[in-house]
């Protein structure tokens, strides 16, 4: 019953539905990439600089690689990195925020100083440094994004814990004789889930943007096709073949937009109190 009404509330926002539709298309694109474009997306298939809507749907790039294959394979890369990095950031941020908010005092003070430190450091520059030091690869991209993305989650979860901690139902649990861990994970955390889900979904979008920027700067995994890499590679030919940059950019824009719209739809559906008119 609750599931149905959650869906109804989500479906009430038109922009959320549009976002979901685009996101489903991107997911289908990513899942079908090995079917429609089997083999290596780095493979040279034709003459270079073929414009779109010719023999190849989206044309070929400066080396004669199929743009459409790149876009399809890049979808999987973006989504996978966005999702895994977000999950890792959620894990770190939730743990730190939960302990800081629950215990307060010295624990809170130390953990929050740490969070502030990580929040002060310009995150993108930090990500660049991390990838540079770990040397560019899929896992270093994910680690870098996760390491720079957790502080907002920690602050959010801490805030929720601080306010829920003072709620009487938590006091009731103490009076019943409940242990700390059970209180943190069974009583309080479930009440923060909707906020965590919403922020997490928006974080996926940010993670995809960071990933594309890293790849654009040439810090992506050189063996994996990604949209940011395609834009970076096409950049030199901006004067003659601007679509080499335009097409993957539109793919990023649509995907990030879709995720943001879904996130906002979720926010309206999960936190009706917070909705502003």
């Amino acid at each position: 019953m609750i599931r149905a009404s959650l869906w109804q509330r989500f479906a009430a926002s038109r922009s959320g539905l549009i976002g979901l539709a685009i996101l489903v298309l991107v997911l289908i694109l990513a899942a079908s990439a090995p079917v429609f474009f089997p083999g290596d997306p780095f493979a040279i298939v034709d003459k270079p600089f073929l414009p779109p809507f010719g023999t190849h749907l989206l044309g070929t790039d400066s080396l004669g690689r199929d743009m459409a294959a790149g876009i399809a394979h890049g979808a999987g890369t973006s989504l996978m990195i966005g999702l895994v990095a977000t999950l890792a950031a959620l894990f770190i941020g939730t743990l730190i925020g939960a302990f800081a908010g629950f215990y307060g005092g010295l624990v809170d003070n130390l953990l929050m100083r740490l969070t502030e430190l990580f929040q002060t450091i310009p995150s993108f520059i930090f990500a660049i440094v991390l990838v540079a030091i770990l040397s560019p690869s899929l896992s270093s991209t994910i680690i870098a994004i996760a390491v720079v993305s957790w502080p907002p989650i920690a602050r959010l979860v801490r805030g929720e814990f601080l306010s829920l901690r003072r709620r009487e139902f938590v006091e009731a649990a103490i009076v019943l004789g409940m242990g700390d861990l059970q209180m943190i994970f069974r009583q309080i955390l479930p009440n923060c889930l909707s906020a965590i889900i919403v922020t997490g979904s928006l974080l996926v979008a940010t993670a995809i943007l960071v990933e594309s920027a890293l790849a654009f700067l040439g810090l992506g995994d050189p063996n994996i096709m990604s949209w940011g890499f395609m834009i970076g590679a096409g950049r030199t030919y901006l004067r003659t073949a601007w679509w080499l940059c335009a097409i993957p950019g539109i793919a990023i824009l649509l995907t990030v937009l879709a995720i943001n719209l879904v996130g906002e739809g979720l926010n309206d559906a999960l936190n009706p109190r917070l909705r502003t008119l």
Partner: protein, 325 residues
């Protein structure tokens, strides 16, 4: 005001462990970097003479226990002894001071544009909520919010520099022209248009959305009903009561976003060859000049700390409740 002063001093004290933390983090990253620390410091494959490497080994106490190395590192950083970049053939400190100006120019301009227009657009959207102006602003904002910075930059170049030939593509000034005085200022401003616009769009979208939400939230507060019950006009209620209250959360986020803005300027500088810290970072990255990269990293974090202090001061001017915070 003693309360205000105390608040600002408190913030200053809080900044100390953060700066220390950043130095320690820097130290850890230095050790994490592949290869011998001394060679990393000298700028790998940078052609540093062996005597210099030996000198570094001694200065940084690389043959001593880790914690002594850390103390020496902190001492070196705090005394602004930042080393020499053989790649750029220049002391790191001088190199960085040269590049700081352009970055501050880009960031300052962006901050002004994005906060100014963001607040204005958010205000208009909130005042026309659910009418076409609001719908348009909200749609544009959410699209701008989802667009990668570097891509916007490239597309603006395609449109305004390549197709229309209105604005220069790269650089900060027309070097060959040797402009002076106001001509030079104008020339730089001309070059600044595209980079600043690129960097602004995302943050403008962010502040527009925040401002709109804050205005709508504040409009539902009880003090607004009081103001209405006093017989004030809607205009006065919006501008004298709601606006200032709604601006506070936006200001908080401006402070939080400074670091991200600096990160964004790295990308924009890379796209437009803007000769700032970001471009320098980018160059040092590919020259594997880790020492330079880490110093830039440390400095950019320090910059964020300073700007955050400024934001805090502005906050105390706008919100009398600092004691309660």
């Amino acid at each position: 005001m003693t309360a205000r002063l105390r608040f600002i001093l408190g913030r200053l004290v809080q900044a100390v462990p953060i700066v220390l933390g950043i130095i320690i983090l820097n130290f850890l990253l230095l050790h994490l970097a592949p290869g011998d620390v001394a060679t990393v410091l000298a700028g790998e494959a940078g052609g540093a003479p062996p005597e210099y490497v030996a000198q570094l080994r001694h200065d940084f106490g690389l043959d001593q226990p880790l914690w002594i190395q850390l103390l020496l590192y902190i001492k070196n950083i705090l005394s602004l002894d930042l080393g020499y970049s053989f790649r750029q053939s220049m002391p790191v400190l001088q190199l960085i001071l040269e590049r700081l100006g352009p970055t501050l120019l880009l960031m300052g301009t962006t901050l002004l544009i994005s906060v100014g227009f963001g607040v204005l657009l958010g205000l208009i959207a909130a005042m026309r909520v659910r009418r076409w102006a609001d719908t348009m602003i909200s749609i544009l904002a959410i699209i701008a919010y989802a667009t990668p910075l570097f891509w916007i930059g490239l597309m603006l170049i395609v449109l305004f520099s390549i197709k229309l030939d209105w604005l220069p593509t790269t650089g900060m000034e027309t070097v060959a022209a040797f402009y002076e005085g106001w001509d030079r200022v104008l020339d730089i401003a001309w070059h600044l248009v595209l980079p600043a616009l690129t960097l602004s769009l995302f943050y403008m979208a962010l502040y527009t959305r925040l401002m709109r939400a804050a205005m709508l939230e504040q409009a539902g507060m009880e003090y607004v009903t009081t103001a209405r019950a006093k017989g004030l006009t809607e205009r006065r209620i919006t501008f004298r009561h709601i606006l200032r209250n709604a601006f506070l959360p936006v200001l908080t986020i401006v402070g939080v976003q400074i670091g991200s803005l600096l990160g964004g300027s790295v990308i924009v500088e890379a796209v437009f060859a803007w000769p700032g810290l970001g471009q320098l970072a980018f160059q040092s990255l590919f020259a594997r000049d880790f020492n330079l990269l880490l110093v830039i990293f440390f400095l950019s974090a320090g910059l964020v700390v300073i700007v955050n202090l400024v934001v805090d001061v502005i906050y105390t001017l706008l919100d009398p409740r600092i004691e309660a915070r």
